[in-house]
C-alpha cells in the first residue's frame, strides 16, 4: 500500500465520521480537533475505523500521532 492509498483511506474514514467536512478543503497539517473541530467522540470513531481498516492497534497514548493527515500517514505506514 502506497502512502497515497493510506492518505485516501484516512480521508475516507474521516469523512464518514464527520460527513459535513469537505475533503477538498482538508490539508495535510490540519489538526483533527484544533482545525477540523472534531470532538473526542469523533476522534475515537476515526481510531476505530482506522484500526479495523489497517488491522493495527492504536493505543490511546498514540492518538496525537494520528492527529493530522501528514502525521497519520507516517504513523500508519510504519505500523502496517
Amino acid at each position: 500500500m502506497t502512502e497515497d492509498d493510506i492518505r485516501r483511506a484516512y480521508l475516507e474514514d474521516l469523512i464518514r465520521v464527520a460527513p459535513d467536512l469537505d475533503p477538498a478543503e482538508i490539508s495535510g497539517a490540519d489538526h483533527l480537533q484544533d482545525d477540523l473541530e472534531l470532538d473526542s467522540m469523533d476522534v475515537l470513531n476515526l481510531v476505530i475505523a482506522l484500526s479495523k481498516r489497517f488491522s493495527i492497534e492504536i493505543p490511546e497514548v498514540d492518538y496525537p500521532q494520528i492527529a493530522t493527515l501528514d502525521l497519520a500517514a507516517a504513523y500508519i505506514a510504519a505500523q502496517i
Binding site: 465520521v17 464527520a18 460527513p19 459535513d20 467536512l21 480537533q33 484544533d34 477540523l36 473541530e37 470532538d39 473526542s40 467522540m41 469523533d42 475515537l44 470513531n45 481510531v47 476505530i48 484500526s51 492497534e57 492504536i58 493505543p59 490511546e60
Partner: protein, 393 residues
C-alpha cells in the same frame, strides 16, 4: 381512531417538513416504530409512533410543512372496527393540515436577533423571518396567525405553497438552527429563574482507572471521560430527584427514569442534545456505545423524535480542549443542566498538602422554582461521590 400528530421535538421547534413516509395505509405499527422523517431546524428527525395499531390514512403530503400538533396520519388501534362515517372528518383534516393545532405546546416568540431593516417592527418568529428572507418575501405583506398576530413559519410557507425550493445550504441551515437556539434560550432565561452552583472534583481515580481500563481494550470498547461523567451525573440524578424531570403546566413533575440529554456541538456552530434513555441504568460500556451512536447520527442528521423530546436533564461538556468552566442555560421543559469544563491538572489541597491532580469543574444551572442552592450542592456532591469509585459506575 387516534390521530398521529407532528410531535414537539424540543422547545425550539415550531414546525417540521415531512420528507419521507416509512409506512403506508394498512401497515401495522407499534410504539417506537419509525413512521416518518421530518426535516427540522435540527436536521432530519425520524418520527416514532407512540400509538399501536394499523395505519388508516396518511393525511400529510410529502414536502408539506406542519406546525407542532398538526395531524399527520390516522392510526386505528388493534381490534377497532373501521367506521365509514369517519371519512368526512378525515377529509376535512387533510384539507387543512397547516391549521394551527389547539394542542401546540410551544408558541413562537416574537423575538428576532437578526431582524432585517424595515421589518424589525413586525412580530415574526425567527424561523419565519429566516424563511421569508430565503423566499424573498416581504414580511409586511404576510398575515400572522401566531400570538398577537405574529407571523409564524407556517404563514410564510402558506404564502408560497407550490414553489419547490432547493435544499437550503448548510450555512442557511446553521443560521436557522442558531435562530431556533436563540429563541429557546431567550425564553428559558426569561421564564426560568436560574441559580448556579459549581464544584471542582478530583478526577485522579477516575482518570487512572479509565486509562488502565482502556489500555486493555480494543478501540471499539474504549470509554471516554465524557461517558464516565455522564454515568456519574445520571446516578446522582436518580438520587437527587428535584433536578430530573419536566416543568409543565402543573408545575414540576420529577421523573424516575433518567433520560440524559448529551450536548453535541455541530461543526460551524449549532448544538443538539439528544437523550440517552435510562442512562442511570446502563452499564458504562453500554452508555458509551449509546453516546457513540447518537453522536454519529447527530452528525449525519438522523436523530429520533423520542431522543429530541424526552431528555429529563442535560449534560454539556467542553471536551478535551476547552477552558475551566462553563455555565449553562436550562433547556425547557427541563429544570437543570450540568456543564463540565475541560478536565486538566489542577492545584488541589489533599490532606493539608498542595498537589497537582487531574480535576474537572462542574457547574449546575437549576430552576429556582423547583430547588435551591442547597439541593444543587447536594447533587454536585453526589456526582463527586460516584466519581471516586469509578469501578462501580
Amino acid at each position: 381512531m387516534a390521530s398521529f400528530n407532528m410531535p414537539s421535538l424540543g422547545a425550539d421547534m415550531e414546525a417540521g417538513k415531512l420528507v419521507e413516509w416509512l409506512v403506508k395505509p394498512g401497515d401495522a405499527v407499534k410504539r417506537g416504530d419509525i413512521v416518518a422523517v421530518v426535516e427540522t431546524q435540527k436536521g432530519a428527525i425520524e418520527i416514532e409512533s407512540f400509538e399501536e395499531g394499523v395505519v388508516e390514512k396518511l393525511l400529510a403530503q410529502l414536502g408539506e410543512t406542519l406546525p407542532v400538533g398538526a395531524p399527520m396520519a390516522m392510526i386505528r388501534s388493534s381490534g377497532e372496527v373501521v367506521e365509514e362515517t369517519e371519512e368526512k372528518p378525515r377529509e376535512d383534516k387533510a384539507a387543512s393540515p397547516v391549521a394551527p393545532a389547539p394542542t401546540a405546546p410551544e408558541q413562537v416568540l416574537p423575538v428576532s436577533p437578526t431582524a432585517r431593516p424595515g421589518t424589525k417592527d413586525i412580530a415574526a418568529s425567527p424561523a419565519a423571518r429566516a424563511r421569508a428572507g430565503e423566499l424573498g418575501l416581504d414580511l409586511a405583506m404576510l398575515k400572522g396567525s401566531g400570538p398577537n398576530g405574529a407571523i409564524v413559519l407556517a404563514d410564510v410557507e402558506a404564502a408560497q405553497p407550490s414553489q419547490p425550493t432547493p435544499p437550503p445550504e448548510r450555512q442557511d441551515f446553521l443560521a436557522e438552527m442558531r435562530n431556533a437556539i436563540a429563541a429557546a434560550m431567550a425564553r428559558s432565561k426569561r421564564e426560568i429563574p436560574h441559580y448556579y452552583v459549581s464544584h471542582t472534583i478530583d478526577l485522579t481515580r477516575a482518570s487512572d482507572w479509565l486509562s488502565a481500563t482502556n489500555a486493555a481494550r480494543p478501540p471499539e470498547d474504549r470509554v471516554l471521560m465524557g461517558a464516565v461523567l455522564s454515568k456519574a451525573i445520571a446516578l446522582a440524578a436518580s438520587e437527587v430527584k428535584p433536578v430530573n424531570g419536566h416543568f409543565g403546566e402543573n408545575g414540576f413533575e420529577a421523573s424516575d427514569p433518567v433520560h440524559l440529554g448529551v450536548a453535541i456541538a455541530l461543526r460551524g456552530g449549532g448544538l443538539v442534545a439528544p437523550a440517552i434513555m435510562d442512562a442511570d441504568k446502563l452499564s458504562l460500556t453500554a452508555l458509551m456505545a449509546a453516546m457513540r451512536d447518537v453522536t454519529a447520527r447527530a452528525r449525519a442528521g438522523r436523530l429520533k423524535s423520542s431522543e429530541m423530546s424526552m431528555a429529563t436533564l442535560t449534560f454539556s461538556g467542553l471536551g478535551e480542549r476547552g477552558v475551566d468552566a462553563m455555565a449553562g442555560i436550562i433547556v425547557p421543559p427541563q429544570v437543570a443542566i450540568v456543564t463540565a469544563g475541560t478536565p486538566r491538572p489542577t492545584a488541589l489541597v489533599r490532606d493539608g498538602a498542595l498537589v497537582a491532580a487531574q480535576a474537572v469543574t462542574l457547574t449546575l444551572a437549576a430552576d429556582h422554582r423547583v430547588s435551591d442552592g442547597r439541593l444543587g450542592a447536594k447533587f454536585l456532591t453526589a456526582i463527586e461521590h460516584h466519581l471516586q469509585t469509578p469501578e462501580l459506575l
